[in-house]
């Protein structure tokens, strides 16, 4: 039995907090995590595009994840982080309240999204992971960073 358990595919997720909830994204899509830093505003772009930041000489767009998910606004704090993701060569940062851990989830513990989380943008959610009474909302990163108006 244990051998079949270990055979089961486990995925690792970076877990972060946003408006009191736990969210997770696959660690394979995370480029790096940096402290919150000054972001340069970009005019005439989507509301949730916060601006751009300088990542070692590279100009990286940053999205305000609260705005993207339809959550209430909040000021950046000391624990605020920018999770820099890389999807199909697009490097995009996401502002989160805090990064908490890296979580291994076997696929058996991942459930499809339910009504439980109806107050965030439903189609950006890929599933819900449950581990030790902890609920982690798993985001569809490509959809999240993608600009709708394209």
């Amino acid at each position: 039995m244990p051998s079949t358990m270990s055979m089961e595919q486990e995925k690792q997720f970076v877990v972060f907090r946003l408006a009191g909830e736990n969210y997770g994204i696959p660690i394979t899509l995370v480029h790096e995590i940096i402290r919150y830093r000054e972001i340069t505003r970009i005019p005439r772009t989507s509301e949730y595009v916060k601006g751009v930041l300088n990542l070692r000489g590279q100009i990286v767009p940053v999205i305000d994840l609260r705005k993207r998910l339809g959550l209430p606004n909040a000021e950046e704090t000391n624990s605020s982080r920018i999770v820099v993701t890389e999807v199909e060569e697009n490097v995009v940062g996401m502002i989160v309240d805090a990064v908490t851990e890296v979580l291994s989830l076997p696929s058996s513990l991942i459930e499809p999204p339910s009504d439980l989380i109806a107050d965030v943008e439903y189609d950006l959610i890929k599933g819900v992971g449950k581990k030790d009474d902890q609920l982690v909302i798993l985001l569809d990163v490509p959809k999240t960073v993608h600009l709708e108006n394209e």
């Binding site: 000054e38 340069t40 505003r41 970009i42 005019p43 005439r44 772009t45 595009v49 751009v52 930041l53 300088n54 070692r56 000489g57 590279q58 100009i59 990286v60 767009p61 697009n90 995009v92 960073v145 600009l147």
Partner: protein, 707 residues
């Protein structure tokens, strides 16, 4: 072979193929002007290498086509085929097909364009009966036929081979004005007898003694010396103009190719350069690669002189980025140093200062070096024009001598990318409108053959490109009347215009002095696009024309588009960069002097109302202006002469060279913003696109009127 290995080979192959195809195209073009043996060797080598590598990569069609081309070159080189228009045309067609084959390989990995037609065409050209052959008198041996040997000679050959010697075919050409041909010939024989055994001589030794031969003779030599050695022996003899040494073909098999033993600069083989080469407008590049076919191995290609490496530009950009980070760190160190206050820190402070300054100098120098590494010779653009000019002149039935100078001028690849199209337009215009027909030229007492000169040179921080023709020049009266007819200017203004001003009218849209629209030019849309494109990246174009003498276009380009000078300004939402090229002046104004006309704030300047714009307002529709709290503010006057506006800013932070970066595909194009840059302190500042901004302002105004 693992797939990624294959992929790696493929990209190397494609790079090489591109180079060889380009080189072939250029050389074939030169063939028409001057057919020298040097040139033919070059061409042959390129075709041969391309054949080998495409076959090795399994691209059969490409291999077959290059093989057919190689055969042609071989025959041209062997002197039994002369260069004709038909051959050059067929070769160009082959080049075009090669290009599309290469594209197919680059895109999908299979070369599928049908090559049977072109191969058949090329093969057809090889049939000597269809084309004039070069004087094949009794003394010259047709190169494609092995020298016929007597039985004794054949036995001598097999004997020589059994002792490990090699058989070489040697063709010696004497100077055309050589007075003692027989002496030179016999000297050659003597020299060769020392290093090996002469098996066969055509014409016979007797004929050579009697001077009963033209200027060349051929030998078969059995020796254990190398081709270079043989060459060295013979070229030492005076009045020998050309020596070709090759492994004996009958031994190397049918497909073996003749190769001039080459090219140790110390024993240069082909000694006397034909005067044609020097007159030829297009200088040949020094041969960098050596390609030797040996007798025993089917193919053995050696690449010496690897002084350059191919680097992905992306990597250089990354280097530049990282360097920018170093500069930021340096600034931070400087700031930290200034925070050291206690007296015992003084010494450390001093040392740190020194170190930081040194650090700064080095990063500055590195930046310069990397920028230099991104530079390419302008020939990367120029080299595609000779072919175009040839096609054009044929199409228009005009004889044109196209001269290129200053091919080696280096400029940034960003400029290389954008300069091609404007140049094509101008060159087409020169051929179509500038150069007259041959009859007209003769009537005007000019040489039938027109000249178009294209060149480049450095001038301070600019590159100057000149396009000059010796055609009819611009008919100023015609330009003026056309401009008046099209209502671009009034007749009165036209009458007052200087010739130079009138000449520059050709850059207006809709103006064409040609009565007939050809498919090459004449629709009156060319030159204004040319000028607008050039202006967009900060270039200046000027035209100078003399009736009957010709026209000269001068384009002044910045060395790079990656770096511009900009004015840093601060407004409420942050720091912005205004390209200095679009800044007309800066002023400090009294807020009391601002008037409102039709809902638009303006300020009177030299009797003109200058509209005032606010960046924050246009970008974010925020009406946050600090003006109300102040008595005076700064404005930056931007735009072009007829469309000036004043940008109201809180402060001006100075002028600085900035590296332009794109905001990336994710953010996409944003109106009013042309890009971004990273400032010395690591922050990002947006670069203002002045024209876009003015357009936005215009629309906003229309909107307010409507509402």
């Amino acid at each position: 072979m693992p797939n990624e290995d294959m992929q790696q080979y493929l990209s190397v192959f494609l790079d090489e193929a591109t180079e060889h195809i380009e080189k072939l195209e250029q050389s074939i073009l030169n063939l028409e002007h001057s057919c020298t043996s040097d040139l033919l060797q070059d061409i042959f080598r390129s075709a041969h290498t391309l054949k080998g590598s495409s076959r090795a990569m399994g691209f059969g069609s490409m291999g077959e086509l290059t093989h057919a081309m190689e055969d042609i070159f071989d025959r041209l080189r062997g002197d039994d085929l002369v260069v004709t228009h038909d051959i050059v045309d067929a070769l160009f067609e082959a080049i075009d097909i090669l290009k599309s084959l290469k594209e197919e390989i680059a895109n999908g990995g299979v070369d599928q364009t049908d090559t049977t037609e072109i191969v058949k065409l090329l093969r057809g050209l090889l049939d000597p009966s269809a084309f004039p052959t070069r004087i094949a008198d009794s003394s010259t041996v047709c190169a494609e036929e092995p020298i016929s040997l007597t039985q004794t000679e054949q036995i001598a050959i097999s004997d020589a081979i059994s002792t490990g010697a090699m058989i070489y075919e040697i063709k010696v050409e004497l100077d055309k004005d050589c007075v003692m041909k027989s002496v030179r010939a016999l000297m050659t024989l003597q020299k060769l007898e020392i290093i090996g055994a002469l098996i066969h001589i055509t014409p016979s030794e007797q004929a050579l003694e009697d001077e009963d031969f033209e200027f060349s003779f051929e030998l078969l030599l059995a020796t254990d010396k190398s081709m270079e050695d043989i060459n060295a022996e013979i070229t030492g003899i005076s009045e020998v103009s050309n020596v070709v040494v090759a492994p004996y073909r009958a031994m190397a098999g049918m497909s073996a190719s003749v190769q001039t033993a080459n090219v140790d600069p110390l024993c240069k083989v082909v000694s006397v350069p034909s005067p044609d080469t020097e007159d030829s407008p297009i200088r040949e590049k020094p041969q960098k690669m050596e390609d030797t076919d040996s007798f025993k191995e089917e193919k053995k290609t050696t690449h010496h002189v690897a002084q350059t490496v191919r680097v992905d530009v992306g990597r250089l950009d990354n280097l530049l980025n990282l360097l920018g980070e170093l500069v930021i760190d340096q600034t931070r160190i400087n700031q930290l140093v200034s925070q050291l206050h206690s007296p015992q820190d003084e010494e450390i402070k001093e040392l740190l200062h020194e170190a930081a300054a040194h650090f700064g100098r080095i990063t500055g120098e590195m930046q310069e070096q990397i920028m230099k590494a991104r530079m390419l010779p302008i020939d990367n653009v120029f080299n595609r024009f000779p072919r175009m000019m040839r096609d054009l002149s044929q199409k228009l039935n005009k004889e044109i001598d196209f001269v290129i100078w200053g091919r080696e001028t280096e400029l940034d690849r960003t400029v290389i990318e954008v300069i091609g199209d404007p140049l094509i337009h101008i060159l087409r215009n020169s051929v179509d409108h500038g150069i007259e027909s041959m009859e007209q030229r003769e009537a005007a007492g000019k040489p039938r053959c027109g000249t178009v000169r294209l060149g480049s040179r450095h001038e301070e921080n600019y590159i100057v490109i000149e396009i000059e023709d010796d055609g009819a020049g611009i008919d100023i009266a015609k330009v003026k009347s056309s401009a008046v007819r099209k209502e671009l200017i009034t007749a009165e203004i036209a009458a007052r215009m200087s010739d130079r001003e009138a000449t520059n009218l050709i850059f207006h849209s809709g103006l064409s002095t040609v009565d007939q629209v050809s498919d090459i030019s004449g629709r009156g849309v060319g030159m204004d696009i040319v000028r607008n494109n050039l202006i967009r990246f900060g270039a200046i174009i000027d035209v100078d024309s003399r009736p009957g003498k010709g026209t000269r276009f001068t384009i002044k380009l910045p060395l790079t588009l990656a770096i511009i000078r900009g004015l840093l300004v601060r407004v409420v939402s942050g720091v912005y960069v205004i390209p200095l090229a679009s800044v007309i002046e800066t002023n400090k104004i009294d807020c009391g002097a601002i008037h409102v006309i039709n809902g638009q704030e303006v300020i009177m300047q030299r009797g003109m109302a200058l509209p005032l714009l606010y960046l924050d307002n246009l970008y974010y529709s925020e009406r946050e202006t600090s003006i109300e709290r102040q008595t005076s503010t700064y404005i930056v006057v931007v735009g072009s002469a007829d469309r000036k506006v004043g940008l109201v800013v809180d402060s001006m932070l100075g002028e600085q060279e900035i590296v332009i970066k794109s905001l990336g595909t994710y953010v996409g194009d944003i109106r009013g913003v042309s890009g971004a840059t990273i400032l010395g302190d690591g922050r990002i500042a947006l670069i203002v696109d002045v024209n876009g901004l003015i357009a936005i302002a215009h629309e906003e105004k229309v909107k307010t009127y409507v509402s």
